[in-house]
C-alpha cells in the first residue's frame, strides 16, 4: 500500500498552482487534505504523474459568510460555518482526524455520492467558483456534480471556493443519516432546507450523485408525507425505506 511513483510540487502562489495544472492537465492531481486521494494512491487506483500540493498557497483558507475556500478543513466548517446545516452535516464526515485534514472543497471535487457536504450544499443551492489560467467561472453545484466521482471540473481548473447563498428569514434546516458504523460511509442520508417559499430535500447515497427534490412549502407541515414524496422516484426497496425515514427524521429535527 505504497503509492506508485509521482512527482510532487508545492507551489506558494495560486498562479504557480494554476500554471502547473495548465501544463500537466490530466496528469496532475490537486492535493489538499488528501483524505480521499491518498487512499486511492495507496491502492494504486489512481496514478497521477504530478501531485500539486496547494497547502502552501496563500489565501485559500477563507471561511466567511457564504464563502468556503479551497483549504478550509471540514473541522472548521463544523465549528465555524455560518450556515447551521453545514455545521451539522460536517459532524457526520468520517472521524475528527479525517475532518481535521479533509477539506470541504475537496469533498465536493471528489463527488462521492455518499458524501455529506455536497448533499447539504446542494440543498442550500450552493455554487462553485472554478479558476484556471484561462480565467474563472461559476457554476451551480447542481450543474457541477455529474455522477459518481465525476464533476464538470476541467483538468486545468482548481475548485477555488464554494458559495453558499443566504437563506431567507424563517428557514429551518435539518440533517440525518444512517451508517452501519459510526464515521463510516452512510447507507443513506438526507438534508432538508425548509424555506418559507419551499422545501428542499437532498438525498445522499441513493443515486449516482446527491439527489435534489423540491417540494412545496406546505409539505413541511406533514414530515411523513413530505418524506414519502421526497423518495417517490427511487427504486422501491430497503434504501428507499431508509431514505424516507431519514427525510422524516431530518424534517422533524429541523431548526
Amino acid at each position: 500500500m505504497k503509492p506508485p511513483p509521482f512527482e510532487y510540487a508545492a507551489p506558494h502562489s495560486l498562479d504557480e498552482a494554476l500554471a502547473l495544472l495548465a501544463e500537466h492537465g490530466d496528469d496532475a492531481k490537486v492535493l489538499a487534505g488528501g483524505q480521499s486521494l491518498v487512499p486511492l494512491l495507496n491502492f494504486r487506483l489512481t496514478r497521477p504523474a504530478l501531485l500539486v500540493d496547494i497547502n502552501r498557497v496563500e489565501g485559500l483558507d477563507g471561511l466567511e459568510r457564504g464563502r468556503i475556500g479551497a483549504l478550509v478543513r471540514t473541522r472548521r466548517v463544523e465549528r465555524e460555518a455560518a450556515q447551521p446545516l453545514l455545521r451539522r452535516a460536517a459532524t457526520f464526515v468520517g472521524h475528527p482526524q479525517i475532518r481535521a485534514r479533509g477539506t470541504a472543497c475537496g469533498s465536493v471535487a471528489h463527488a462521492d455520492p455518499a458524501a455529506e457536504l455536497p448533499c447539504a450544499l446542494l440543498a442550500l443551492g450552493a455554487g462553485v467558483r472554478l479558476r484556471s489560467t484561462r480565467g474563472e467561472r461559476e457554476l451551480l453545484l447542481d450543474d457541477f456534480l455529474v455522477g459518481p466521482f465525476s464533476t464538470a471540473l476541467e483538468p486545468d481548473e482548481l475548485l477555488l471556493e464554494l458559495e453558499v447563498p443566504e437563506q431567507p428569514a424563517g428557514t429551518r434546516v435539518g440533517f440525518a443519516e444512517h451508517s452501519r458504523i459510526h464515521g463510516d460511509f452512510a447507507l443513506a442520508g438526507a438534508a432538508v432546507v425548509a424555506r418559507p417559499d419551499g422545501l428542499v430535500v437532498s438525498l445522499l447515497a441513493v443515486a449516482e450523485r446527491p439527489l435534489r427534490v423540491d417540494l412545496p412549502a406546505e409539505a413541511t407541515a406533514d414530515p411523513g408525507e413530505a418524506a414519502s414524496l421526497a423518495v417517490r422516484d427511487l427504486e422501491p426497496g430497503h434504501r428507499r425505506a431508509l431514505a424516507e425515514a431519514l427525510v422524516r427524521r431530518a424534517l422533524e429535527g429541523a431548526e
Partner: protein, 683 residues
C-alpha cells in the same frame, strides 16, 4: 494476602500506552532489505511464463524469487485432527503453474525499500489462463478433508423422537483484523549458521518447528524471537508462505529481509476464520428432551491447507452437543476446496460455529414445541461432571444452570418478555457456550536473582493477554513476594524454555500452572533455579450470554437493548483482565453478528479488501455489557483455572441471532444482521 483473584492493573500497560512497545516493524537490523509479493490477480488460473526481468532491472531491486528458485523449500506441515482424512494440499510457498486464489503469492521481490519492492512487484506478471473458480463450498467438487463421527445410538434417538427439527445455516468467513498485521524479519549469520527470525506471531515454538520443516534445517539452527505483538486472535499461529519465502530469501541473499504485511495483504492473504455451512437435525420428545443431533458441515477451507486449517471444523463437530446432555450425535464434515485464501483459527475457532448450530437448533425446537427456550435448555443441560459427550470429550466441571439463570437475570429477560407486543419487534435470545481450552503442556523456569527478584521464563507467550501481570500474581503468591518483584520473560526460543503456544484460551491454565509449579519447586527445593513442565487434559469453560434486541420495522435497524455475559472460566486469576477478555471477545462476537462478512464475487474476486468494505465495530457501537463470572474450579490444574479468551466470540453472536429470529417471529436469518437483511425478512 493473596494476589491471585485480585484485579491488578496490567504492569505492561505503561510500556504500551507510552508508545515504548516495540513491534516487528520497529526493528531495523543493519543492512536490512524489504520484501513485497507479486500476487495472483485471479482466483483460479494457469500461470504461463513469468516475466521477472523488468522487475529485476528496477532501481533498488536486489532479487526477484519465483517458485523455480525455491524448489528445495517445502510447504508448511499440516496438522491432522484425529481420524480425519486430510488431503496433501499444503500451501505452496510461491505459486508455480497454477494460482488458486486471488492474492496468492507468485513472486517475492526484495529491494532496498518497501516502496521500491512494491513498484517492482507490480511489474511481475504472468500470462494468466483463467480457470473456473469455485466459490460455493456446497458446490465444490474437491474435498481437502473428510470426516465422519458417530456416538451413541443415533438411529434409535431419531426413531424415538416425536419431533425432528431440520434447519440449514451459513456463517460467512471473517477476517481477524489484528491492529498489527503479520510480519517477519529473517537474518542469517553465516559464521555460526544460525537463522534468526523475528516474527509477529502468537508464540515462538510452533513457527520454529514449521520453519525447520519448510527449510529442511535442524530446529537448533533456527532462533525465533517475538517482539511485542499487536494482536492475533488466532491469525498468527501458523506460518504463511510469506514467512517461509522471506526466510529463504535471507538465506540466499546473506542480508536481513523484512516483510511487514500491509492491510491490503492482510485482507487478501492472511488466513480467515469461520466460513461454514451446515444442515442440522435435532430429535426431540414432546416433553422437550433432546435425544440426538445430526449435522452435515461444509467448511469453506479455501485453496490450500495451512497448518491449522483442519482444526476449527474438527472442534465445531466435536462440540455439536454443546452444553446439553444429548446422548447421540453424528457429524459428517466436508472440507471443501474453494478458490479463496485458506481458513484457519479465528477467536473461537470452531466453538462459535458449534454454539451457533446447536443453540439456534434448540431455539427452533422450542418454537416448534411451543415451550420457552430457556426452559427447554434447563431440561437438557449437563448437570453431572465429569461428563463424557457422545464423541468422547470429557467436560471437567461446570454449573451450566447457574450461568443460564444469571444471564437471564442480568439481561432482564423476564421483564422484557412481558413487554413483547404486536407491532413491536422485540426479541429475546440466549446462547450457552462451551469453550474447549487448555490441554497439552507448557513449561517454565523460575530463578532467584541476587537482588531478591524472581525471573520466570515461560514458554507461553503473550500477544495482548497480560501474561506479565497474571503470571507475576501467581508467582508472588507462591513465593510470598510482591508481583513487582517478579519479572516474566518469554518469546525467544534461545532464551526461554520450550512451550506449546498461546491459542485456544490456554495460557493461564497451562502456562500459569507451569509457572506456579516452577515457583513452588523453587520454594520447596530452596535452590536458585527450578523448572517445571505442566501437562493436563482438555478443560471446558462454559457460560451463557443473553440478549434483548429490537428491530425498527421501518428501516431494519437493529438495536441491542440488553446484553449479558456470564462466563465460567474456573478460578479467575485477575478479574480485571478476565473482564477485558470478555469485553474484547464480545466486541468481536458482536462484529460477527452485526456487520462482518468476507464477500467474493462469482469469479472468486474478494470484494472486501479494506475497512471500507469490511467494517469493524467501534466503541460507539458497543452496547452496555452486563458481565458476571461463575467460578467452578477445574480439577485438572493447581490454579483451578480454565480459558476465558473466547467466550464472548462464541456465545454473543448466537444470543443475538436467537433474539433476532425471535423478533422476526421465527424467520430464519444468518449473520451478519444488516439493516437490509432484517428489513427484507420483515416483508
Amino acid at each position: 494476602m493473596s494476589y491471585v483473584g485480585r484485579p491488578l492493573a496490567r504492569g505492561e500497560d505503561e510500556r504500551f500506552l507510552s508508545g515504548r512497545a516495540r513491534y516487528l516493524d520497529d526493528l531495523h537490523p543493519d543492512d536490512l532489505l524489504h520484501a513485497a509479493f507479486a500476487r495472483s490477480l485471479l482466483a483460479h488460473a494457469r500461470l504461463g511464463d513469468l516475466e521477472v526481468e523488468a522487475a529485476r532491472a528496477q532501481p533498488g531491486v536486489v532479487a526477484v524469487l519465483t517458485a523455480a528458485d525455491l524448489t528445495d523449500v517445502l510447504p508448511p506441515p499440516v496438522v491432522e485432527p484425529p481420524g480425519m482424512w486430510v488431503a496433501d494440499a499444503g500451501h505452496p510457498i510461491l505459486a508455480a503453474s497454477t494460482a488458486r486464489y486471488a492474492g496468492e503469492p507468485i513472486a517475492l521481490v526484495v529491494a532496498e525499500s518497501r516502496a521500491l519492492a512494491e513498484d517492482a512487484a507490480e511489474l511481475v506478471q504472468p500470462d494468466y489462463e483463467p480457470l473456473q473458480a469455485v466459490v460455493d463450498p456446497r458446490a465444490a467438487g474437491e474435498a481437502l478433508t473428510r470426516w465422519e463421527k458417530s456416538g451413541g445410538d443415533v438411529d434409535r434417538a431419531f426413531a424415538e423422537a416425536d419431533v425432528v427439527v431440520a434447519r440449514s445455516f451459513a456463517l460467512p468467513r471473517l477476517v481477524a483484523a489484528p491492529m498489527e498485521t503479520r510480519g517477519a524479519i529473517a537474518q542469517h549469520d553465516p559464521d555460526g549458521g544460525l537463522l534468526t527470525v523475528w516474527l509477529s506471531f502468537q508464540d515462538p515454538h510452533r513457527p520454529l518447528d514449521q520453519l525447520a520443516h519448510c527449510l529442511g534445517r535442524p530446529p537448533e539452527s533456527i532462533r525465533v524471537v517475538l517482539p511485542d505483538v499487536g494482536g492475533a486472535f488466532g491469525s498468527k499461529g501458523a506460518v504463511g508462505p510469506e514467512v517461509v519465502a522471506v526466510a529463504a530469501a535471507a538465506l540466499r541473499l546473506g542480508r536481513p529481509v523484512k516483510w511487514a504485511e500491509d492491510r491490503l495483504e492482510n485482507f487478501l492473504a492472511a488466513y480467515q476464520g469461520r466460513g461454514l455451512e451446515a444442515d442440522v437435525e435435532l430429535g426431540v420428545t414432546r416433553k422437550g428432551r433432546l435425544l440426538g443431533v445430526r449435522a452435515r458441515l461444509y467448511a469453506d477451507l479455501g485453496a490450500y491447507l495451512i497448518s491449522t486449517t483442519a482444526i476449527p471444523m474438527h472442534t465445531a463437530a466435536m462440540l455439536i452437543t454443546g452444553a446439553y446432555d444429548i446422548p447421540a450425535a453424528e457429524v459428517a464434515v466436508v472440507g471443501a476446496r474453494t478458490n479463496k485464501v485458506p481458513t484457519g483459527p479465528y477467536r473461537g475457532a470452531g466453538r462459535p460455529e458449534a454454539a451457533y448450530l446447536i443453540e439456534r437448533m434448540v431455539d427452533e425446537a422450542a418454537r416448534e414445541l411451543g415451550v420457552d427456550p430457556v426452559e427447554l435448555r434447563r431440561r437438557n443441560l449437563v448437570r453431572a461432571f465429569p461428563h463424557e459427550t457422545p464423541f468422547g470429550w470429557t467436560y471437567d466441571s461446570g454449573d451450566y444452570e447457574r450461568c443460564l439463570d444469571r444471564a437471564v437475570e442480568l439481561a432482564e429477560l423476564d421483564r422484557f418478555r412481558t413487554e413483547k407486543r404486536p407491532g413491536r419487534r422485540l426479541g429475546l435470545g440466549v446462547g450457552m457456550l462451551i469453550e474447549r481450552s487448555g490441554g497439552n503442556w507448557e513449561s517454565a523456569v523460575a530463578r532467584r536473582e541476587p537482588d531478591g527478584r524472581v525471573v520466570v521464563r515461560t514458554g507461553s507467550s503473550p500477544h495482548g493477554q497480560g501474561h506479565e501481570t497474571t503470571f507475576a500474581q501467581i508467582v508472588a503468591d507462591e513465593l510470598g513476594i510482591e508481583p513487582t518483584a517478579v519479572e516474566i520473560l518469554w518469546g525467544d526460543t534461545e532464551a526461554g524454555p520450550a512451550g506449546v503456544g498461546t491459542f485456544g484460551s490456554r495460557s493461564t491454565a497451562m502456562g500459569g500452572s507451569a509457572v506456579l509449579e516452577a515457583a513452588r519447586r523453587l520454594r520447596e527445593e530452596g535452590g536458585m533455579e527450578a523448572a517445571a513442565v505442566f501437562e493436563s487434559g482438555l478443560l471446558f469453560s462454559s457460560g451463557c450470554y443473553a440478549a434483548v434486541v429490537e428491530i425498527d420495522p421501518e428501516t431494519g435497524v437493529l438495536e441491542i437493548l440488553r446484553l449479558a455475559a456470564v462466563d465460567d472460566a474456573g478460578r479467575i486469576v485477575n478479574p480485571l483482565l478476565a473482564h477485558g477478555q470478555v469485553v474484547g471477545a464480545t466486541a468481536q462476537g458482536l462484529g460477527q453478528a452485526l456487520v462482518e462478512a468476507v464477500r467474493h464475487d462469482e469469479s472468486g474476486q474478494p470484494l472486501t479488501i479494506s475497512f471500507v468494505d469490511y467494517p469493524l465495530l467501534t466503541a460507539w457501537e458497543m452496547p452496555e455489557l452486563r458481565s458476571a463470572f461463575v467460578e467452578t474450579p477445574s480439577p485438572l490444574n493447581p490454579l483451578g483455572a480454565k480459558g476465558v479468551g473466547e467466550g464472548g466470540s462464541i456465545a454473543a453472536p448466537v444470543a443475538i441471532a436467537n433474539a433476532v429470529v425471535d423478533a422476526l417471529h421465527g424467520v430464519s436469518v444468518d449473520p451478519p444482521f444488516t439493516e437490509a437483511k432484517l428489513w427484507e425478512a420483515l416483508r
